[in-house]
Symmetry: C2
Subunit: 468 residues, 2 copies
């Protein structure tokens, strides 16, 4: 039945006739894209989950997140993507990888770390890593990452300029740093050369819509204090991130103790290279004092559970780091020590590993894990104002995940479903910087057959280079 006031209005309108007074329809704003009718997992400060939610996008930004019917009324969208039966999440943030190494996926497994490095990884790199290798390796990595829901990744490798170019072409967001290491590398004879490369790299890419350059000294045990200080100065001067492997293995901690009488974290503090723009990758072996330093210096942590398990490095004290308010993001590490680049796997492992390591099923919750994979990762990379949650003003980086597959039913708790049950292969659509990069099982930004063909060629070349 009509409410009397509406009935009266209706009578008035009918009386006025077609040329009469009509209430002006509310002005509808134009948007480029409306992702509509999905279950929107915002990861905003209130951790809102919108049952029939929508996200409105203009250009490369989210301009509204809310009820689907309401947004549909408020906006005229040039394009609408239905998210019916889907979960809509912030794109996943992979805080640590070596993307081009995906071309070495599986060359060395189930071997000791020293054999892994010295018999396989170093020789394979010395004999194969070129600009072309890096270009196609990055393309293959982006293909796998896009398909499995990652929209941003942090990388540390060689020929990083080619990583950047390939990543930008793939339409992915990334924080990229040339590896600076105190030994000859595939593209630098000395760390000074790598630092010079890095400075050119920063100047070239700073301000790019997708690529954030970084300074990436390999580790405390592979670089001198002088090199590390030069790295930090460079990062500070240009206002970029410094990413570094720290306390990955017991052996590393032992080496640094022997050399400097301090833990890696203590030593890095002593030589003055810590601060809020620093990201520690791994941080598995930490002393009580290390925790205090990390908190006080506002260091971000990249946690890589699968790599730490695969290489038997140990279990990072993630629950304790989080309880101290330290920023923790998730990562896959390179595909040689994982052997995949799938952040859904990283989430599942991270959650289950902390429960086991703490012998406490409440040690880490699914929502905390998803936070590490989204907003925590964004924070760790200094990008929390731009990405990591679905909120007006942020960049439009989001994924649609099928919530109606066999493994997705029933759905009692979206966070638990995402972390423990859903898989990278359930990602159906991906938007990065407002652009659709994955749609209906097709990656729009990459020539998939060409990338795969090239991977096949490198497979033969790499195998031969190792005498197989």
């Amino acid at each position: 039945m009509l409410h009397p006031i509406f009935a009266a209005l209706l009578a008035l309108l009918l009386a006025a006739g077609p040329a009469g007074i009509q209430p002006a329809p509310p002005a509808q704003e134009k948007v480029d894209l409306l992702v509509a009718q999905g279950t929107v997992v915002t990861m905003d400060v209130n951790r809102r989950v919108l049952e029939s939610g929508a996200v409105a996008v203009r250009g490369n930004r989210i301009i509204a997140v809310g009820d689907s019917a309401a947004l549909n009324e408020r906006y005229v969208a040039a394009r609408t993507i239905s998210a019916r039966g889907m979960l809509v999440l912030p794109g996943l943030v992979n805080t640590h990888t070596h993307a081009p190494m995906v071309l070495f996926r599986g060359i060395a497994n189930d071997v000791s770390l020293m054999d892994w490095l010295q018999k396989y990884i170093f020789p394979a790199e010395a004999r194969n890593v070129t600009r072309d290798f890096v270009e196609w390796g990055t393309a293959l990595a982006c293909l796998e990452m896009i398909r499995s829901g990652t929209t941003t990744f942090a990388d540390m490798y060689y020929f990083e300029d080619d990583v950047a170019a390939a990543t930008a072409r793939a339409g992915m967001r990334a924080v990229l740093g040339e590896t600076i290491i105190g030994a000859p590398s595939p593209d630098s004879k000395t760390p000074e050369e790598a630092i010079a490369y890095t400075e050119r790299f920063i100047r070239r890419w700073k301000g790019h819509a997708l690529i954030s350059p970084a300074v990436s000294p390999h580790a405390p045990y592979t670089n001198s204090a002088e090199t590390l200080r030069a790295c930090k100065r460079l990062a500070d001067r240009y206002g970029v991130r410094m990413t570094i492997h720290v306390s990955e293995t017991r052996d590393e901690v032992k080496q640094i103790r022997e050399r400097y009488g301090a833990t890696p974290t203590q030593w890095l503090k002593e030589i003055g290279v810590l601060g809020p723009n620093v990201l520690f990758c791994h941080a598995v072996w930490l002393s009580d004092e290390d925790f205090a330093i990390i908190a006080e210096q506002q260091i971000g942590i990249s946690h890589n559970p699968e790599s730490n398990m695969m290489l038997a490095s140990g279990t990072a004290p993630v629950a304790r780091l989080l309880s101290m308010g330290i920023t923790v993001g998730l990562g896959t590490d390179g595909a040689v020590s994982n052997n995949n680049l799938d952040m859904f796997e990283a989430m599942d492992f991270a959650g289950k590993l902390q429960k086991l390591a703490n012998m406490d099923p409440t040690a880490l919750s699914a929502v905390q894990v998803l936070e590490m994979a989204t907003l925590g990762g964004a924070r760790a990379l200094g990008l929390e104002k731009e990405i990591g949650s679905l909120e007006p003003g942020k960049k439009a980086d989001l994924i649609l995940v099928d919530a109606e597959g066999a493994r997705a039913l029933p759905l009692y708790d979206p966070y638990a479903q995402i972390v423990y049950a859903l898989k990278g292969s359930d990602v159906r659509t991906s938007l990065i910087d407002g652009k659709v990069v994955l749609e209906q099982d097709r990656v729009l930004t990459l020539d998939e057959p060409a990338v795969k063909a090239r991977a096949g060629e490198y497979q033969v070349k790499v195998a031969r280079s190792l005498g197989r």
Copy 2:
């Protein structure tokens, strides 16, 4: 150019004319199915991997495994399935689950074991588990398992007769046991009732092509010595498996020690219920003497890494068990403590977890993990003469796994790829007992929309029953 001998033969034939002497073509045997041109990972005693291999199937048996061209010449196949670009593996064997509980997937996560059981699982079971629930839960579980490459599973739940019927309809192979527990259950008031149910169940299903009945007392801490002895006698009388949860948690070991002054394994030996037809599920907390008993009694072990991590139960000593020659299979456990039924995940977790737990990346190799998921599982279930490897005479249970996806390239080592990189969603085709059950992304044996619709109905019902 023709070889002279062929040229001579040709000349002879031509001279003889159409009615002349022709060499009789080799007699070709008929087969029902030829899976051709795949990379066949046999898991046979020589661990052969055939580069362009084929598997010939007649009825429900494999009759040949070999070079694709050779088999193509030897056999005329009623149907040929191309496995080009695929890995062909024995179907995966999930040695422990509670299939119908998939309808509770995600009702309780990140909570302590006691809360998990008492606040969620037990009330949810008491209020919801009926024959209908079990039927549709099993169907949903089979859907997920078939899609992710499992061809055989071992189950322990209630209304097991309905589990069996639904499993047989889904075309899956299974070892099924009604839970026998010293407390009222959804379908038995006493363990005696459950034992009587089990005997009827065994008589009904023994000899079925797909279903092997078993006797499944829940655990040492939930059953009396008398019940356990009755279970073992029943299993022995009918020549079936006895499956039981043993030493899953430290708490359980403590309880049994307090009650009987022995470990669960010791106590089970003392009361005379061990033997080669017994499968221990979990076996996380074992004393040195337990290891010796397990070896001497030829007990099989079902290892469930994800559940043990999720519930913070602990890490099963798998590397040590295997080094003693003890049979170990892999399992997912129920979807409430995982939260998926995907054996590819179980493999990835099992491999990485042993490396970490032993702080040794060589602790468990990828081929050992795949063995646990195939032949080891078959042995643990007493089915090693029928399934677990691709060999002539065995049942035709096999899967085709896409080896050309983004995460599947490059391919240096098929075992590492299967265990660490490939996923359940890469399974394209599945054959169980000679019948195609999964083909081109379609499960042929189940009405998928109906199963999913019913799961949606149970989602509402279960949530309400828990006051949500």
